[in-house]
């Protein structure tokens, strides 16, 4: 039992390292561990493997808020924390924004342990049985809603007519373009990846960094952005966190259960369904959604009778271990509880440390350093070809940032090819694009 507890805490500490370095994802570290285990032919007992992996997921979900809010350098599941997070940062309340998101994450942990934990083995296998043949059209519907619900921000002033209409369609048009370009890039990476075979396991990593992490780091560096001194205080917003937790639980649960849908999309759908307008509730909902998506995605892998593999962590675990009993499920659940609480306790000191570093070195310098670090990480893991993919995707990722459309459209990189594949259209489209 002590081994399992220590493994869970170790997982949380490893993820704390990954979460605080922009560009480095917990999946990169997991993949590295998997490669080491395969090449050395080492087999870890479930008491180490399951708690460590669960701890890494829960810890990362809780702590990756720090770079998302303080540096605007999120991963794909935290993209929605960037804009409200920036508001907090620019008002000198970046720390508060982080703590509200973390409180949402803690609420998500409670939901996962006390509601999802006991109910998942009863409900999910039945739901899986009914919904599995319909997953593809659900994904298509999510895509349609995502594209149709973009708000027209321009075109407020002036007389009605074609000029106003065209002005108003600039941002949504750019959103559709971003989605299409990301989708094309996704097809290329899926069907004819320029990466070497040995780097194939990190196929999407340079693209994800280019689409989600680098654009704001570039803007921060180029625009000479300065942030006001940050206050290290946070209020208690029980009502906002409660509302956010309800919305985030639905969104995160949806994302963890359905393949291809990420925590960001889940949070977006839940935000719409529950009509959240308050920034605090919104941030809390993103914290909850992220935690349930990451930790829940792996937890569902261990649900007896479910046989589901959603999310990068579950895919990597599948190569190492085959869950068979309730013991594995309960071990994962306990590990998520321990590591989630550990990670929550780490949020405040790590946020303070990051704020101190930003204060000492300057926001622009830190953004530039993070930019350089992310580039180096991509080069080390995927080589020159990875850098080219990263640069291409950065160009696509800059479109929504510069034109004010949703960054969520960058998720076209997985949504479009996967939806096409699930409906059986993928190979035909790939052939049409000359990829097969």
């Amino acid at each position: 039992m002590i081994t399992a507890c220590l493994s869970a805490i170790a997982g949380a500490l490893i993820s704390a390292f990954a979460a605080c370095i922009p560009g480095l994802h917990v999946y990169n570290i997991m993949a590295l561990i998997v490669i080491i285990l395969h090449t050395t032919h080492t087999t870890l007992p479930p008491e180490i493997l399951i708690p460590c992996a669960s701890g890494m997921m829960a810890g990362f979900a809780m702590l990756n808020t720090i770079p998302s809010i303080l540096l605007s350098a999120p991963d794909e599941s935290a993209i929605f924390t960037v804009l409200p997070g920036q508001k907090y940062l620019m008002q000198g309340h970046g720390y508060e924004g982080i703590m509200i998101t973390a409180a949402g994450g803690l609420a998500g942990l409670f939901v996962l342990i006390f509601i999802v934990g006991p109910l998942a083995p009863v409900i999910l296998p039945a739901a899986q049985y009914v919904l599995r043949p319909h997953t593809h059209w659900i994904l298509w519907c999510v895509i349609c809603f995502m594209l149709m619900s973009e708000w027209h921000q321009e075109g407020r002033l002036g007389q009605g007519g074609w000029s106003k209409f065209l002005r108003s369609w600039k941002a949504p048009g750019m959103g559709i373009l971003t989605f299409a370009l990301s989708g094309v890039l996704g097809f290329i990476l899926l069907y004819k990846s320029p990466l070497d075979e040995k780097n194939a396991f990190q196929n999407l990593m340079p693209a994800f960094i280019g689409l989600f992490t680098l654009p704001w780091l570039i803007i921060n560096t180029v625009s000479r952005a300065k942030i006001p001194p940050q206050e290290i205080t946070a209020g208690i917003y029980k009502s906002a966190v409660f509302k956010g937790a309800v919305a985030g639980s639905i969104g995160g649960g949806f994302a963890a259960f359905f393949p291809v849908i990420t925590g960001g999309i889940g949070g977006f759908l839940a935000g719409h369904a529950t009509a959240i307008r308050d920034n605090r509730a919104f941030l809390a909902s993103q914290g909850t959604s992220k935690l349930i998506y990451y930790a829940g995605g792996l937890l569902f892998f261990f649900v007896p009778g479910l046989q589901t593999t959603h999310g990068g962590a579950a895919w990597m675990m599948r190569g190492l271990y085959t869950p068979s009993t309730n013991y594995d499920y309960h071990l994962a659940l306990a590990a998520i509880a321990i590591s989630g609480c550990t990670a929550f306790l780490l949020v405040s000191p790590l946020a303070r440390l990051t704020i101190t570093i930003i204060k000492k070195c300057g926001f622009r310098t830190i953004s530039a350093a993070a930019l350089a670090l992310a580039t180096v990480i991509v080069y080390i893991i995927t080589g020159y070809m990875g850098l080219i993919i990263m640069l291409t995707s950065t160009g696509i990722g800059l479109i929504p940032v510069l034109f004010g459309s949703r960054r969520l459209h960058c998720l076209g990189i997985i949504l479009l090819p996967m939806a096409c594949n699930m409906s059986g259209l993928g190979p035909s489209i790939a052939k049409l694009m000359g990829l097969l």
Binding site: P84, K87, Q91, A126, A127, Y129, V130, L131, P133, H134, H136, W137, I138, W140, C141, C144, F145, M148, S149, W151, H152, Q153, G155, R156, L157, G158, Q159, G160, G161, W162, K164, F165, S168, W169, P172, L269, H272, A273, T274, A275, I276, R277, D278, N279, F282, A419, S423, G424
Partner: protein
């Protein structure tokens, strides 16, 4: 209602067609995509197309640096009085007041039917989520101004309109037979697009071009949108072109009410699940509609009501305790 609500209801209606469910299970997503798109279509036509072509006669662009509610009140009164005097429709576009990239000046326009005046009052500064920015509002004074109207006002929507973020509303002042004026709120919305006629035309086109089932799905999804909007306040012009104006709604919920929207989305998901389950070849032992309603609708509803009740009771106790504390301190000071 909100976009996701109409979208979810549209898909739920499509799931009521077993042929669509079988096609979906066999890998054809088109029926459900159509249902979602046409469930949202009436609002898409209005908000993404029609409103950008709608002309106005008076445009009010308040100066962010010189707050002047009198100017706004006078401009609205001018539109009402001109309509009354000439008998012609006058359209007024009220623009929002952006102060900074994420800061907006909120203002309210109220029509007082008894005193026959329009009042404009500047409210708090709000962010793009519509939440007041506390630190900025502490040092700001609220400004109010009124302007007299020459005629009676008959309301077609709410007496008070709040203008804050993104795009401001348009009011169409229309004369009536009894020499009053009706300020129609956003007259480009819920008119021809929310009528059963385009619904039928689109359905017939799809049925002729592709399959009758596609037409049926489009019609039910589109009609469900119109029906759901009718439970709100504004209503829709359901019988355009046979009627000129919107039919009043049932005034049951506000279109942006969080609970109403969420409840409809949730129930749509439950309906969808039941329809998908019904069409699947195997059965789950012991699972039936009553159990689904019990666990999917009744128990969550009960949990919500309990939490809500407890929150209200806690708030009442807190208020009573604060009043008691206040009285106690007052008595002690007097003593």
């Amino acid at each position: 209602m909100k976009g996701i609500t109409h979208f979810a209801v549209g898909i739920a209606t499509a799931s009521c067609f077993p042929q669509a469910v079988h096609a979906g299970a066999a890998g054809n997503p088109l029926y459900f995509i159509l249902a979602g798109i046409f469930g949202l279509m009436p609002d898409t036509l209005d908000f993404k197309f029609y409103r950008f072509f709608y002309k106005h006669d008076i445009e009010i662009i308040p100066d962010p640096n010189k707050p002047d509610p009198q100017l706004i009140a006078d401009a609205i009164a001018l539109a009402v009085n001109t309509t009354h005097a000439t008998g012609k429709n006058i359209r007024v576009k009220l623009n929002t007041i952006p102060i900074a990239p994420d800061t907006w000046q909120q203002y309210k326009v109220s029509f007082n039917t008894t005193t026959r005046e329009v009042t404009v009052s500047y409210g708090p500064l709000v962010d793009t989520s519509g939440t007041p920015i506390t630190s900025e509002n502490r040092r700001r004074k609220s400004l109010t101004a009124s302007a007299k109207l020459d005629c009676n006002i008959r309301l077609d929507y709410q007496a008070t309109i709040i203008i804050d973020i993104f795009d401001g509303p348009l009011l169409k002042m229309s004369p009536t037979r009894d020499h009053s004026v009706i300020p129609h709120f956003i007259p480009w919305h819920r008119q021809w697009s929310h009528s059963l006629v385009p619904c039928l035309l689109m359905a017939l086109t799809a049925a002729a071009a592709w399959k009758p089932l596609a037409g049926m799905i489009i019609m039910t999804a589109y009609a469900s949108h119109i029906a759901i909007d009718q439970i709100g306040f504004m209503g829709s012009n359901v019988l355009f072109p046979f009627r000129a104006d919107r039919t009043h709604g049932l005034n049951m919920v506000h279109s942006n009410d969080a609970l109403a929207n969420f409840s409809i989305v949730w129930i749509s998901c439950v309906v969808m699940f039941w329809n998908l389950y019904n069409s699947s070849p195997l059965t789950l032992p012991g699972f039936n509609l009553i159990k689904l309603l019990m666990y999917g609708v009744f128990l969550p509803g009960l949990a919500y009501i309990t939490i809500r009740h407890k929150t209200l009771v806690a708030a009442k106790i807190r208020t009573k305790w604060n009043n008691f504390k206040h009285l106690f301190l007052q008595n002690r000071n007097t003593a």
